[in-house]
């Protein structure tokens, strides 16, 4: 194959601004775009044999750590109150722009705590189910480890994710700092339906209160149908190992696709109720005030959303030439069925390739080839889910809401590229 066979032709252009059709990738069979098509340069330097190739390395270890050269790949940490006022009530962000694939490593999975991270001794932890049940029950961790377990992949996203994009001025922050209150993991645990079957549920018990063992005793009301239909899990494992303390060790609730704060960490209690308890975090918080002064409540499901992670703010200037645009998409309503990319601020759109498998309520990676010739460009991604719902523009998202609302913000992210290749966050 000569380079003229490989390089995209004019008919391969999928949209303006240099976006290349997926058909070109299929025709050329190139899995990775840049490597095969960059010009070959001849070097005069002879290869050297580094020390690590001539001396035995470190010995094996009980628990592996990332390379010290990757020590910059960390979670940006943000307190939500002035120092000394509730320091444990804050967030840390998944550094989306520094990660690949779809599974978030356990040490980089975002955090949101309301009263710090409890250090729970699993031998002393207990879990109870009571309220409108036939037989209230208590379970020790060793009781729970005897149940059959299932595994599924699901994202957990804080309903306050993308909070910086709720500010009037576009903030110059990384993809992770803006959209990183989300992580995607493989969860293993017990179906809550199994335990509810054991207690028996009064048919009039249509809600359940889930409560954590942390100092905030974090609590949320959840429609019990989410559990009875087999969709709620008591997770003990995350990506194959027991939960980290900051993710709810020894056990957390996972309600795929619903507001992150409903996935109660350090779970200690479920009380079956005939209605919602109207806790602080489902009234004063996690509700959305409309322009007319009324507020939306119990908006559990998270909307269809996507973000381009490369290129994005803070990971170096864009180089000219053929390259890959990549990012992640997800929806609380089900599978991602499509992601479109624009390089011209939304004037024209081209379909991105989706990395299989696109699982329901899970992150899906997308990519598209892009030939940047150096002019200014504005990159946007727009996801569609299996219900046909399309990710909204920022102005469409904000239309019904009062100023300053931030929960469930799933608007299209725009990255502007200037003539030097520098990336900035812009509102289109």
């Amino acid at each position: 194959m000569s380079s003229s066979d490989i390089l995209p032709r004019s008919e391969d252009r999928a949209a303006s601004g240099g976006l290349i059709s997926r058909r070109w990738l299929l025709r050329t069979g190139l899995a990775a775009v840049p490597a095969s098509v960059v010009a070959t340069q001849v070097s005069a330097d002879q290869l050297r044999v580094p020390d690590w190739s001539s001396t035995p390395g470190l010995v094996q270890s009980p628990y592996g750590q990332p390379s010290p050269f990757e020590s910059h790949v960390t979670r940006p940490v943000l307190g939500l109150f002035p120092e000394g006022i509730g320091d444990g009530s804050g967030v840390s962000f998944t550094p989306l722009e520094k990660l690949a694939g779809t599974i978030t490593p356990n040490g980089l999975f975002f955090e949101r705590h309301h009263s710090g991270i409890p250090e729970i001794d699993p031998d002393q932890h207990e879990f109870v189910i009571h309220g409108m049940v036939r037989q209230p029950l208590r379970f020790s961790m060793s009781d729970l480890l005897n149940y059959p377990m299932t595994t599924r992949t699901a994202f957990i996203e804080c309903a306050g994710n993308s909070l910086f994009n709720s500010l009037d001025e576009a903030q110059q922050r990384s993809a992770g700092e803006i959209h990183g209150l989300i992580g995607n993991a493989e969860w293993t645990g017990i179906s809550l339906a199994t335990l509810l079957q054991e207690t028996g549920v009064d048919p009039a018990g249509t809600w359940m209160l889930a409560e954590g063992a942390d100092a905030a005793k974090k609590s949320r009301s959840i429609p019990i149908s989410k559990a009875l239909n087999g969709d709620a899990m008591i997770a003990l494992y995350q990506n194959g190992e027991r939960l980290r303390p900051e993710q709810g060790y020894p056990m957390r609730l996972v309600v795929p696709g619903w507001q992150g704060s409903m996935n109660i960490k350090w779970l200690r209690r479920i009380k079956v109720m005939s209605g919602a308890t109207h806790t602080k975090d489902e009234t004063s918080k996690y509700t959305l005030l409309q322009k007319d002064g009324l507020a939306r409540q119990f908006t559990h499901e998270l909307g269809v959303k996507s973000v381009i992670t490369g290129p994005s703010y803070g990971i170096g200037p864009v180089r000219k030439g053929l390259q890959q645009i990549t990012g992640v998409a997800w929806s609380g309503a089900g599978r991602i069925t499509g992601v479109e990319i624009s390089a011209d601020g939304g004037q024209s759109w081209a379909a991105a390739a989706l990395q299989a498998p696109a699982l329901p309520q899970a992150m899906t990676r997308f990519s598209i080839a892009w030939d940047w010739t150096g002019g200014s460009a504005t990159l946007m991604s727009r996801a569609t889910d299996e219900t046909g719902t399309v990710q909204p523009t920022r102005s469409d998202w904000y239309a019904p809401y009062a100023a300053g609302q931030l929960y469930h913000q799933n608007a299209i992210q725009s990255w502007a590229i200037d003539a030097k290749g520098d990336v900035s966050n812009v509102y289109v």
């Binding site: 109150f81 006022i85 509730g86 009263s115 109870v128 209230p136 029950l137 004063s284 002064g293 939306r296």
Partner: protein, 178 residues
Amino acid sequence: MCMYDCRSNGFAILLMLLVTALPVDAQQHGTAITEAELQPWDISIAPDGHGLPEGSGTAQLGAEIYAGSCAFCHGDSARGGPAGSLAGGIGTLTLDAHEKTVGSYWPYSTTVFDYIRRAMPYFAPGSLTDEEVYAVTAYLLHVNGIISENFVLDADTLPAIQMPNRDGFISHWPDAPK
């Protein structure tokens, strides 16, 4: 023929018993728990007041506790503290400069009691007695102009309080309104 049918029915019944019995029996690892054993954890308060403990309090008493345990983060008179105001803003929800506080936004008074007893004060949650929680709740309702300084808050009077924004929420479960 009959024999075949009978045997077949018997086998089917035996199978049914196995199928229905096995998963349930095989998975029972919980231990029965009584209401008395549950009591220290059963702290949630329903909007109708279910779960409220005995005891009572007034804003007059609550003011003292508030000054000592709450004002550091939530400000004098529950306004302007670093962790956010808990009072004021009533009637502002349709304005650009709206303010969401206990008085202006929270739909149920029971939530105030529930959250204070569950999680406050931040550095020592659970350190207030039920009487003190009633008193601080009364204080917050009083500085929002909802009850008088001498109003006695207890398990009967607290859930009966109509919060100013009681009808301000639209439930999106199970479906968003059309």
